[in-house]
């Protein structure tokens, strides 16, 4: 079996496992990861097959609206690696929060998915990386539709133990950010595909004027654009995955921005094809849409990243070698 075939097969197994969890009420996503042997995969990042399988989980999670704690474990792994502590986080003992700035509340730390971790890892650029016992952390649930557990966390800085100073953190931060952005890109692709699936199937059965609405060119073209949004974001995420060991400059930012932008577009196009039913709580579309909005907002929104990329292009007028790297990836 080729690497791609192995990864594709693992993707399907992940989907089945996460679909079963969703049908059972949504509890137990992390146990499913244990059964899939997923927790060992981030430490095997250098191996193309392990890396491919590791990221495939995220696309499956998006596709099945799965509630798993994979992202915090993946984000923590490079820091633990740099500090030579732990086992590459194979037991998921450390979960990293994502730091962002809130318009009205200043710095906010977000934990994505459920976690059984004992330690919370917090990276504050300029101040280095610290670990906080999870038992001392306070959680505030983010109450938005969707099956994904999202919590903002607060902690007493006095309980934080330094893990890496600023100088040592820099390289780990870059690797963590890259892996996290590519993982989010895969989740966003899966999320958009789930939303589009709903609209495509609906347009085959919903009739108006005596025929399925999928016979109308206006609807067909909206959905074909949605497919293009998904397919191009997927191709970009796969490229970033394949180049992960030595990525060209800013590919992580580009990949995440494409995925966030395209996922939001695909959700909007799907909603348009679904009509009013897609805007109700009884229909699953809104779960995917809310998930896409949430994930686009982590590790840099598509709007923010896009602007920053433009600033970079202007300031440095870099030689862009993405095409030659893609050709030989």
């Amino acid at each position: 079996m080729t690497v791609n075939e192995t990864v594709e097969e693992f993707f399907l197994v992940c989907r089945q496992a996460l679909a079963a969890v969703s049908e059972g009420g949504g509890e137990g996503g992390n146990e499913a990861l244990t059964q899939l042997g997923w927790w060992e995969l981030p430490a095997a990042f250098d191996d193309p097959e392990a890396r491919g399988a590791m990221f495939a989980l995220f696309r499956a999670a998006g596709r099945e609206n799965g509630d798993v704690g994979a992202l915090p474990a993946l984000l923590a792994a490079p820091y633990l690696d740099a500090s030579h502590s732990g086992d590459g986080n194979a037991s998921g003992a450390v979960a990293a929060a994502i730091t962002r700035r809130s318009l009205r509340r200043g710095t906010v730390h977000t934990l994505v998915g459920p976690t059984d971790a004992q330690l919370l890892l917090v990276d504050t650029p300029g101040q280095g990386v610290a670990l906080v016992p999870m038992s001392s952390v306070e959680f505030a649930s983010v109450d938005i539709p969707g099956r994904l557990t999202l919590r903002e966390v607060t902690f007493d800085p006095a309980r934080a133990e330094p893990l890496l100073d600023e100088a040592a953190a820099r390289d780990a931060r870059a690797r963590s950010l890259y892996a996290g952005r590519v993982a989010l890109a895969f989740d966003l692709v899966g999320t958009a595909e789930a939303a589009l699936d709903l609209a495509v199937e609906y347009s085959k059965v919903r009739e108006q004027f005596g025929v399925p609405i999928g016979t109308f060119q206006a609807v067909r073209h909206i959905l074909a654009w949605g497919f293009t949004d998904c397919a191009s974001a997927a191709a970009a995420a796969e490229l970033a995955r394949d180049l992960a060991l030595d990525p060209p400059e800013r590919l992580g930012e580009v990949t995440k921005a494409i995925a966030g932008r395209n996922a939001r577009r695909a959700c909007q196009r799907s909603l348009q094809a679904l009509g009013g039913i897609g805007f109700t709580q009884e229909h699953d579309h809104h779960l995917s849409y809310s998930r896409a909005l949430a994930l686009d907002s982590l590790l840099g929104t598509s709007a923010q990243l896009t602007r920053e990329l433009g600033t970079w292009l202007k300031a440095e007028q870099p030689e862009l070698g993405y095409a030659s790297r893609a050709l030989f990836a």
Binding site: K204, R220, L223, A236, L239, G310, K314, Q317, S324, F328
Partner: protein
Amino acid sequence: MLPTTPDAAAAVDPAAFAAELEAWLQTHPPAVVRASEHVADYPTRVRIMQDLMQVLWDESFVRYGWPVEVGGLGGSFLHRAAMWEGLARHGVLGMNLFEHLEVLLPTLVELGPRDFTAEHVPLYLSGREIWSQGFSEPGAGSDLAALRTKAVADGDGYRISGQKIWTSWSVWADWCCVLARTGTTESRHRGITAFIVKLSDPGVEVRGIWQANGNEELAEVFFDDVFVPADRIVGELDGGWRVAMHILSHERGTFAWFRHNFLYQQLIEFGASSPDAPEFLLGDALLDLVAATACSANGVKEHAAGEILGPRACTNKLMLCTAEQSVQDAILAGDVDLAVGVQDELTDLLRQEYLFSRIVTVYGGSQQMQLETIAKQVLKLP
């Protein structure tokens, strides 16, 4: 210097080829430098590209990736993909009419008459001969199977009468691959044959079409009882539809790779260099470009592995066009002289490019045809 015998060339894999090309480009060959200069006059650009093709032939770069039987040195499609990527990265502004190499030539090589292609492909690759393709007609655009140009058997050949339109580069071309009806009008796609017509033959008249961007790239071609020998049929008699689909699969699949490479260079050289260019537009254009890279690199690799590109390849064409328009929109936003200023050499060139980007969603299978193919064949909508 690269090996110039097929046996020795077989050892040069695409990565080694790319490295050899890169070393050569680092020496700033005059023909490459010339092709990177800002020249507004289109016929001059055509001659500059012909000269560059001759140099690439002499240095044997352009022989890689084409079969030995037609003057190539073997190797894969990836060699060709690497050559144009390298040229673009070193400032060559576009392929101009040699884009057609990657649309038409793969089909000619695979389905064209053997002796003919052995003689003429080397002339094409070295810029000494130029080709066009006669598909569209006034009454047959997206609905290609409605074409009416007729070919009637006459002795050891056929006589062609009718009219083609939007035949790119016919003003400069020596040869044209013409789709003509050999069956009844009702036979639709079953009664079409692809012929190779010499455009200087009696009965052929080429009239250039002055385009909205000031160029004469497109043309109308009239055929009045033009004799074509039977050994200049591409593929089978009545097998023209297969030829057309073969060509169009390149146009919507791998063509995106070749064309989009040049957009990176343009985004930096003409977009990012302007203090007035809005950052968000530049960034957004980069997103579209990388998405086009990722999609079309997959198409290139599938093609190199001998796979046929399916309907999903329509996304490549859609992304290419989206990227081309985004890049040009970012350039215009940073340099409104294109729209409203006195047209000096560079401004004129950029204006031509901007305006051309407005029509990319129309040619080579319109955006609507690509969307319809996805809707029907990928999404399986009713």
